[in-house]
Symmetry: C2
């Protein structure tokens, strides 16, 4: 009866942790190339900060921390950003930050959905125009490509267009409820959404018109023309601008009038990137021009996107582990252990990851262990090697052996 990790959480053993580190390193590299800089914030915040804009659903998912201290683990990286920006009013704008860290949500665990997971966010704070939205989306797509994830589809929409549509149809239900209903289209299908809309009090005619609009087909241009003709609004102009900028950046994007994204705080463009297979959305975000002022700042527009690291790792799962260690330095007999240590240190000094026996094992057992770890080369030191001032380099997969000088070994393994 071994001890378990808490429900909805997991350990990453080296094989997976190496994939994670590799993914995060590549993400960081791309974010930095676009001029974003990191911040770190505490894992927990005051409940007041968290609940200010969590929405009812997320509010229930906050893990409380401490006893009577009114703290909770953060459920995303956007709320901490808003709090941080609002309390550092002198930051030069735009403030372009990335934040890669864990967040926690007390929800029902499902396949691929955990209570503890990583987000990797880029956000632009202070810039109102679509150039910021186009940049974060382009940057996220490049990060995904750098990781080696196939980007299947980039979808965009605009909350202002949906608001205008709701107004045009004279719908009585609140926008938030309508957004939530529409948000289920992808997962639950058209019928479920229609039932939900009727439950919200919409008549059959309204439901039919709404669904016909948001599910309109055709090219981006055809949809935009329809929107501009039927219910002209600022969101349509923003979308036209965003699509033009994305095209310039070489990002193929589809306008999807049914795309909502669940979070209550979006105010304009929303976007979602999906990968291949059944993992669904691997990155998503949008503009939230009203959030930061809730934390006491003057009105401050902002937009950003978040990469879902667990889903990305799910996609990458198939790819095998590459052993980090290049060389296992083996001593043929105990009297050569000191030589083995010296050689290992010289390899490390040359930047070659090396390890050696720490268990007092004989040569055979040492090589078995190196093999079990998948280390590609063994460097063996024994009587003959010392005499000839050389080393035996064994290819652990091919099985070949050669006598080489240390210098040659370094060259071979670099």
């Amino acid at each position: 009866m071994p001890y378990q990790v808490p429900r909805g959480t997991r350990d990453l053993m080296p094989e997976q942790a190496l994939v994670l580190e590799d993914v995060l390193e590549k993400v960081r590299l791309v974010f930095r190339k676009y001029g974003y800089e990191p911040v770190e914030t505490p894992a927990f915040e005051s409940l007041e900060v968290l609940e200010k804009k969590s929405g009812e659903e997320l509010k229930k998912q906050i893990f409380r921390v401490g006893e009577g201290e009114k703290l909770g683990l953060r459920f995303d990286l956007t709320v901490p950003l808003a709090r941080l920006v609002a309390s550092n009013s002198s930051l030069p704008k735009p403030f372009k930050r990335y934040h890669i860290a864990r967040v926690w949500r007390h929800e029902e665990p499902q396949k691929g959905r955990f209570r503890e997971f990583y987000q990797a966010d880029v956000d632009v704070v202070g810039a109102a125009g679509m150039e910021a939205d186009a940049e974060v989306l382009t940057c996220a797509k490049e990060a995904l490509e750098m990781i080696g994830v196939e980007v299947k589809r980039v979808r965009v929409n605009n909350r202002k267009m949906l608001d205008a549509l709701f107004a045009k149809l004279g719908l009585k239900a609140g926008a938030t409820a309508l957004f939530r209903a529409l948000d289920k289209l992808d997962k639950q299908g058209r019928q479920a959404v229609e039932a939900e809309l009727k439950r919200l009090g919409l008549g059959a005619g309204d439901v039919e018109m709404l669904m016909r609009m948001v599910m309109a087909g055709g090219s981006n241009e055809a949809k935009l023309s329809l929107v501009e003709k039927e219910f002209p609004n600022e969101g349509a102009a923003e979308t036209r601008e965003l699509l033009k900028l994305l095209q310039e950046y070489g990002v193929k994007a589809d306008l999807d009038l049914s795309l909502v994204r669940g979070l209550d705080y979006y105010t304009g463009p929303v976007y979602e990137i999906s990968g291949s297979g059944d993992v669904g959305s691997i990155a998503a975000g949008g503009r939230y021009d009203k959030l930061i002022e809730l934390y006491g700042s003057k009105p401050t527009p902002a937009t950003g996107i978040s990469l879902g690291i667990e889903r990305i790792m799910e996609v990458l799962k198939a790819k095998g582990k590459k052993a980090l260690t290049r060389a296992y330095v083996a001593a043929a007999k105990d009297e050569y252990r000191m030589n083995a240590r010296e050689i290992a240190m010289k390899l490390r000094a040359a930047g070659i990851a090396a390890q050696l026996d720490l268990m007092g094992r004989n040569l055979k057992k040492q090589l078995e262990h190196a093999n079990a770890l998948g280390i590609p080369y063994a460097v063996i030191v024994g009587e003959r090697e010392i005499k000839e001032k050389k080393l035996t380099l064994r290819d652990m997969k091919g099985g070949g052996e050669r006598m080489l000088t240390l210098e040659q070994v370094v060259k071979e393994l670099s």
Copy 2:
């Protein structure tokens, strides 16, 4: 009245977060060179796991998580390792892992001591000999040097030697209480420790003998000879072996018979690396051969060391920020913004971190912003540049300007 971070925690703004990322990257690089591989574990564990070997003091410092779920934030990375190893009994031994992550302790915040902080640990699980201890210590020292921290002193001791000393003196107080008392020697001085020992019931003669022993001066060899003569024990032989191995590795270490390290679970060698200035210990660890079996495993020796990242950052504080972004691509007029975007993308494709205006600013304001961010170069595109198929490269510090082709700019900034 801006919203505050919770007591004892802090935000890291980009300047500091960049230092942190740089430190962690270097640590990771060195750990990997020695053949250690990463794991990740949940931020919180069941209280049962945490309290199994926290000792009374740490137990009080656990941040509770959730409501009625008996979870707590981890207070170190050793307990999660023990739990993980015990529940994965088929792991090849030795299991050499690194773990770089935050831990949380609900204690009184002080200068340089936070309730949330990073640890960077290397541990060897399954190896009983001093070779493992010598390796983790050597590896930690190299990581510190790689970061650029001055290593002032490496001190080692052995709990078995202290146990033997207590036995020889016939001391009646429990070893844990004596360890705790001695542990305060560095911070509170000899008088305070002597008072504490007396409070524990030791007679004046015992206190004097104990202090004379643990504060014995002279070379490592002199101290070891004294120990071996007065109270021969296995710890002395281990220390002799450890010091020999460290010497081989080029690590100068001092035997300090008063070194204890607070944690209850150490069973043999303990070590501590101190940096310059008044930050004290920047890395510390020791052997804990009895810990893992508490989690249901068969007896499994283990040893490891932990780098204190916050203290390391404290030492590095003086060093200035290097701007990540190399180039700010500025459009002389609005009509060249598209060109600016294209140039930025080409620079990024060449691996050069670049940013551009997202605020609709004029050229002057763009350059002012680049300057405020400390970006070293501006790449300006305007009428003349388009006509001549060149770009203006401005050195933002030196102030010089040159007209160059994009290719030349890339070469210049790479």
